[in-house]
Amino acid sequence: MTHSLHRHGDTSSLKRDFVVLTLENRHRTSLTWKDRLSGRFPRFYTLLKTVYRKLGVGRLLNRAGVGDGLEGMDWTSVFHSREDLRSHLARLKEADTGRSVVVSGVIDEVGSCLGDLGLRPHTVQYSLGSFGRLEQLPDKTVLEVTTMCGHHLVSPRFVEKKMREVADGQVTNEAAAESLGELCLCKIFNKRRAAALLEDHANRS
C-alpha cells in the first residue's frame, strides 16, 4: 500500500494534493475473463498468474496507464485540484469496475466531490497526528515534502540539499521536485506541490 494518510502541510497546500488508490477487489466474484479462465482451466490460470507476477507485468501496465483489472494490480493517481479529482472519480464511477476506491486528501474537499457525483463516504480514516519524540523530527517544510512519499524513501537530508540548491539558483524548483519524486516508488509523491513548497522556501530564504 502507499501510506498516504499522514501527509503534512497546511490546509491550503493540502487542497492541492489528492491521491486516489484503486484497489483490485480480491473478494469480487463477478464473471470476468479471469473468473472464467480460472474456473475452466485452473492449472493454466495458476501458471499464467505466476508468470504474470514474476515478470512484473502488472507494474508495467500500471505505469503505462493501461491496467486491465488483472489480479494484484492497484492503481495510484495524484491530482492537484478538486476539479481534476472530480473528473477522475466520475470516470471511475461510470466504469463501475467493482474495485474499491480510496481518496486521500482534505476530507471536506473529497466529501464535496463525492456529493457532486451522488456518492458518499463509506469509511473514513482520520489522522490524529504524530506522538512520541517529536523533537527528533525535521522542520515543517522538510516534513511537508518527505511525507509525500508514504514509505519515507525521500530522506530529510536529500530534501534539505535540494532546498539549498534551489535557494542558491543551482537548479530549478521543478527539477529539484523531479529528483525527489523519483525516489517514491509508489509514485504518489506530488511533484507539483513539492515544486511549490521548494519555491516558497527559496523565496523566504
Binding site: M1, P121, T123
Partner: protein, 241 residues
C-alpha cells in the same frame, strides 16, 4: 547493505539519500553502520553511485525483517511468518466489512514520519494498548510476528531489529476509543521514536463518521486531510453471482 571499499572513492554523493543517515564518509571510503541501516535499498536503487559500490548482502533471519518492512518491494522471509507488509485496512472496507458500525479501527505507524523504530519500541506500544483489550488484526504482518497476540509481546530475537516503519493495526469498540488515544499519548514518552496514528470509522448513510463525533466531543484534534473509501467496491451480493 554494504559498500565495496574497492569501488567507493568517498565522494560523499550518496550520503543525503539515506533515510536513516546510516552512511558516513571516511578518508578513503564511505561506510554503512549496520545498526541504523534498515535495508531499505534506497542507496542502491537511487543509482547515485557511478561506481556501483553498493552491495546488497544476503539477509538472514532476523535481519531480513528490516528489509521486509523498509523496502517497498517485499521479499520472502522463508520463515512463513510474514505474508506481506500490511493489510488493505479501511481501503477495501466497502467489500470486506472489516470495520463495522460501533467499531473503531486504529493504525499506529511506528517510526513514521521518517525516524524508524526498533521492535522493542513496537512491543512497548503493543503491550500498552493490549492491556485495554484491543483486538489486533490477525492478517497484519506485525501481528503475525507477535508471540502473544493477547499481550502484544514479540520474540526476543527481533527486538533489536530496526525498520523504517511498521503498522500496528487493531480495533476496539466506540466506548474504548478515547482510552486508546490516551494510552497512545502516554506511551509516547516511553519510546525513542515517533509514531503516527490513524483512526477508522464506518460512515453513516449521510456520510458522517460516528468517531468524528467522539473526537470532537473530547476535543481530540485531527488533521483536515485523511482517507475516504468512496464505497464503489463490489460486495459478493452486489455482483449478482
Amino acid at each position: 547493505m554494504r559498500i565495496d571499499p574497492d569501488k567507493c572513492n568517498a565522494c560523499g554523493e550518496c550520503l543525503p539519500y539515506c533515510p536513516t543517515e546510516a552512511i558516513s564518509l571516511g578518508d578513503e571510503t564511505s561506510t554503512i553502520d549496520p545498526d541504523p541501516c534498515v535495508e531499505c535499498y534506497v542507496c542502491l536503487r537511487s543509482d547515485v553511485c557511478p561506481h556501483e559500490a553498493f552491495v546488497a548482502e544476503t539477509l538472514e533471519w532476523p535481519r531480513i525483517i528490516r528489509h521486509i518492512f523498509s523496502s517497498v518491494r517485499p521479499v520472502q522471509s522463508g520463515s512463513g511468518l510474514i505474508d506481506g507488509r500490511g493489510t488493505a485496512e479501511m481501503k477495501s472496507n466497502d467489500v470486506t466489512d472489516r470495520y463495522r458500525f460501533g467499531e473503531v479501527g486504529f493504525t499506529v505507524d511506528i517510526g513514521r514520519p521518517g525516524l524508524g523504530a526498533t521492535f522493542a519500541d513496537v512491543e512497548t506500544i503493543a503491550i500498552a494498548v493490549a492491556r485495554l483489550g484491543v483486538v489486533f488484526e490477525p492478517t497484519n504482518p506485525v501481528t503475525n510476528l507477535m508471540t502473544d497476540t493477547i499481550a502484544g509481546s514479540f520474540p526476543e530475537d527481533i527486538k533489536r531489529e530496526r525498520v523504517l516503519s511498521c503498522i500496528l493495526e487493531f480495533k476496539t469498540d466506540e466506548a474504548g476509543c478515547l482510552a486508546v488515544i490516551d494510552t497512545l499519548r502516554s506511551v509516547g514518552d516511553e519510546i525513542d521514536t515517533v509514531f503516527s496514528v490513524g483512526c477508522i470509522s464506518r460512515c453513516r448513510d449521510d456520510g458522517t463518521a460516528p468517531v468524528a463525533d467522539i473526537l470532537d466531543k473530547a476535543e481530540v484534534g485531527y488533521r483536515p486531510n485523511g482517507k475516504v473509501n468512496i464505497g464503489v467496491g463490489w460486495r459478493y451480493d452486489d455482483s449478482g453471482t
